[in-house]
Structures are given as C-alpha cells and as structure tokens.
Amino acid sequence: MGYKAKFRVWRGEGGEGQLEDFTVEVNEGEVVLDVIHRLQATQVPDLAVRWNCKAGKCGSCSMEINGRPRLGCMTRMSTFEETETITVTPMRTFPVIKDLVCDVSFNYQKAREIPSFTPPKDVKPGEYRMQQIDVERSQEFRKCIECFMCNNVCHVIRDHDENKPAFAGPRFLMRIAELDMHPYDELDRKESAQEEHGLGYCNITKCCTEVCPEHIKITDNALIPMKERVVDRKYDPLVWLGSKIFKRSGV
C-alpha cells in the first residue's frame, strides 16, 4: 500500500530559493496536497502552501507539479510512478511570497479594472426574467473557482512580464465575455475588451483551457466568441454598415 516517494519542493522566500529533496511516505488514495501536508506535519513545519477546501472547489492550492499547473488537491498520487521524483514548484507567473505561496494580487487588481455588471435601472429585484438557454453560456464561465492557473499558464504574461499592465489574462477576459453575454447587461464591452484589457494579445493557443480544473472551455466558448464580437465592432465593415442602417444593437 504505502511507499516512500521522492519529492523535490521549491523552498525559499521572495523568489530566491532552491529545489529541496525529500523522501516522504505516501498512502493509497492520496493526492499531492496530502503529501505536502505530511511533509509539513513531519519534516518541515514551516513549509508554506495555500489550501482550503481540498475538494477542487475553492481554487487555493494552485501549484506546478512536474512543471504543469495543477491543483494540489486534485492531483492523485496514483498518476505517478512510485520511482518517479515529483517536482513541486510555485506558480511561475506570479511573485513568490514563500515556498509554494504566490502573491496573486495581479488577479485582484485586474478584477477591479473590469466594469461590473450593469443592469437596466428600471428592472426591480424579483422582476428578472431570463430563459435557461440565455444564461447557460455565462453560467459556464461562472463555474470558475479563481485558481488563476489560466493566468499563470498564459504565455502572454508568463513569458513576458512586461505585458502584465496591458493584459487581463484569460480569467478576466472570460469575465468580460460572461458579462457581455449576460441577457441584462447594458454595457458595451467590445471596444474595451480589445483596447483596455488586451484581448488582442491572446493567440488562442489554448493553454488556459488545458489547465482549467473546472474544464471550462475558456478559449472556444469565451475568448474566441469575444474576439468575434470585437470583430463585429471594430474590424467588419459590413456589420458596421448594417448597424448604421438598421440601428440595431443588443439583440
């Protein structure tokens, strides 16, 4: 049942640090976070790791396991060979506070840059009427648990720190899509998605979708549809002409 696994864990404060080797017991049915906790309880009591629900619902324990962004609580040890050395590092795109804990304030700042839901003033609470099919697209995006692994893996900022001011990241471009598709949202978000939040930086290489623990189709259902909506507004002369002639919007 149980065996001794080899772990290499990033340790250090404020970015400076190194990978340290540990040998630690693993039991049947455990996940990587369990093993990190065992390390904490038995060998390194001050090993820093964020976690909360341990059920893949809160998005706290984002880390990189063998180089891939994963939730520690959702990565079963049975997916590794017993002889394998498992490398655990903090998310690479964000500054490190200590060990596996990153400063993710970038994400909260971006969240605040996106204008909030803007419903019509004349609809009172309790009077909202929406059909299920009209809310389903946005509901998919609201499954997001804000683990920020999509923003972490996105090469636009992972490999180019200088793009951070101009790019909201998949998480928040998806938030724009969510609001833009909301049946009651009145704000036009297409222009700003492109000009202020950096939708054009996305080259749809889909890593955000690949790492999403909620299996949200970020690229296909949020980013590309949003790009197409931007085309309507900015790059398609026919749609532009049509909107001038028919004065239609917000269908």
Partner: protein, 266 residues
C-alpha cells in the same frame, strides 16, 4: 501582503527557476507532429499547384477546383466558365488557392497549431517561448487574422463547389449518371469532411447566433448555433481530417489522370 491591491514590495519576484520548463513528459512531441503534418501539406500543395494532371473525367482534383482559367479542359471548367481570359497563363489552381488557403490560415484552430509548432509561441503549455517580445494579434500583420469571417464566406462557396464536384463524380468518364467508383466515394467523403470543417468554424458559430444575447428570442438561429457548436467542439479533428481528405482526394484524381489508376474501377 496579499491584498486586493497590488502594492507589492519591490523585493518580490518570481521563483528563480533557471530551466525553460520542469515538464517531464514528452511535451515536444505534439508540436513536432503538428509541424510535420502541416509541412507535408504545404509541400504537397506546392507540388500539386504546378502539377498539370488535375482532371480525369468526371473527377477534378480539389486543389484545382473551381477551374476558371482558359487552360482548363472543357469538362473541367466550373459551369463551363473561363472568366479570366487568355492572358492568364499560370496554373489554374493558383487562382483559387487563396480562398481555402486563407480560410485555413486564419482559422482559430490552425492559428493555435502554427503559433505553437512553427512560431513556438508557446511550443507547449508551461514551456517558455524563445521570443523576447510578444504583442500577439494586437498589431499588423497578425491583426489581419480578424478577417477570418470573410474567408469563411468564401470557403462556404468553395465547399459548395467541392460538393458539386462530388455530385458530378456520380457520372462515368462518358458523362453517364449512375457511376460509383472509388474516386466518387473519396470525393464525397472529402466534401462531407470539408463541410463539417467549414460549418464548424468559430466565425460561423458567431454568425448563426453567437453574437446574440437572447437565444430564446431566435429559436431557429439557436438551433443552428447548437448544431454548429457540436461541429465546433470537434473543429480540430475536422481540420486535420479534411486537410488529409483533400490531399488524398487530390492525389487520387491526379493518379487517375496520370493513368496510374484506371477505370472502371476508379
């Protein structure tokens, strides 16, 4: 402090990992295969454009259809047309090549595949890219990718022509209906795959109903969107399948034209 504002002290930095990636799997395999697959298509395409044996009654090679030059043989001409006149002396395929080519070049799936495998931006998830600067599709030339929907409109026309060609392939080499050869089957299969790829396009999905916020007010468009969404979920698979089917169909017709494969079996 991890607050909701980024008032990060300057000392904070990312984990100073010196390696490009810590991935232990064969992450390079997929981009390598993609590269090989796309290259094979390009190489074949260049050869096929200049290859003259593109027509063998009743089959026309997809790379040269619609055949619109005066150099096209009588039966190969699309609806008997030759609108370009005698001055055009280059291979007929070059005239229309840009349409499906542009469609695929600006396709959201192909963009992913060549950004990854040719431009290595990124080569795979969580693997550093080699470029110092990155501006994505925010400026020229890549901002032109936004014309994708216009290529989609044209691709629908091309797709229809290939379907028409497939229908014509139910005639034998003398023009009598009722023939079903291996070529017929290949051309039909190709037309179906091309249609699945074309209609599953992200722009098509947007046009059918994706741009609407109230599906419930447009039940027919919503139905269409639902159908397109199903195709769209397999857009990558259809992209590869149709790319190879068009290559195979094209090569097959040329082999018939060159006499390598002969009727009635063909």
């Amino acid at each position: 402090m991890t607050q909701t504002t980024a008032e990060s002290p300057t000392s904070k930095q990312r984990a100073q990992l010196k390696v490009r990636t810590l991935r232990t799997d064969r992450w390079w395999l997929v981009p390598a295969l993609t590269f090989a697959g796309l290259m094979s298509f390009l190489i074949y395409g260049v050869w096929a454009i200049f290859d003259k044996s593109y027509f063998a009654e009743p089959y026309i090679a997809p790379f040269s259809s619609p055949c619109l030059a005066t150099s096209c043989p009588e039966g190969a001409r699309f609806l008997g047309l030759a609108p370009f006149g005698d001055w055009y002396g280059l291979p007929p395929g070059l005239l229309i090549l840009g349409l499906p080519g542009g469609f695929r070049l600006t396709c959201y799936y192909y963009r992913k595949s060549y950004y990854r495998s040719f431009w290595l931006s990124p080569p795979a998830c969580a693997v550093s890219e080699p470029h110092k600067k990155y501006s994505g599709e925010t400026r020229l030339p890549l901002i032109i990718q936004n014309v994708h929907r216009y290529f989609f409109y044209l691709a629908v026309v091309i797709g229809a022509i290939l379907a028409y060609d497939a229908v014509l392939a139910f005639r034998d080499e003398h023009g009598n209906w009722g023939h079903v050869g291996l070529g017929t089957i290949i051309l039909v299969a190709n037309a179906v795959l091309i249609a699945c790829y074309t209609l599953g396009c992200h722009s098509c999905r947007h046009i059918t109903a994706g741009r609407l916020n109230h599906f419930s007010r447009h039940p027919i468009r919503y139905k269409a969107w639902t159908f397109v969404s199903k195709l769209n979920a397999r857009h990558q698979q259809f992209a590869w399948a149709s790319m190879y089917s068009v290559m195979i169909a094209d090569l097959y017709v040329r082999l018939v034209a060159k006499g390598v494969i002969n009727f009635p079996f063909a």
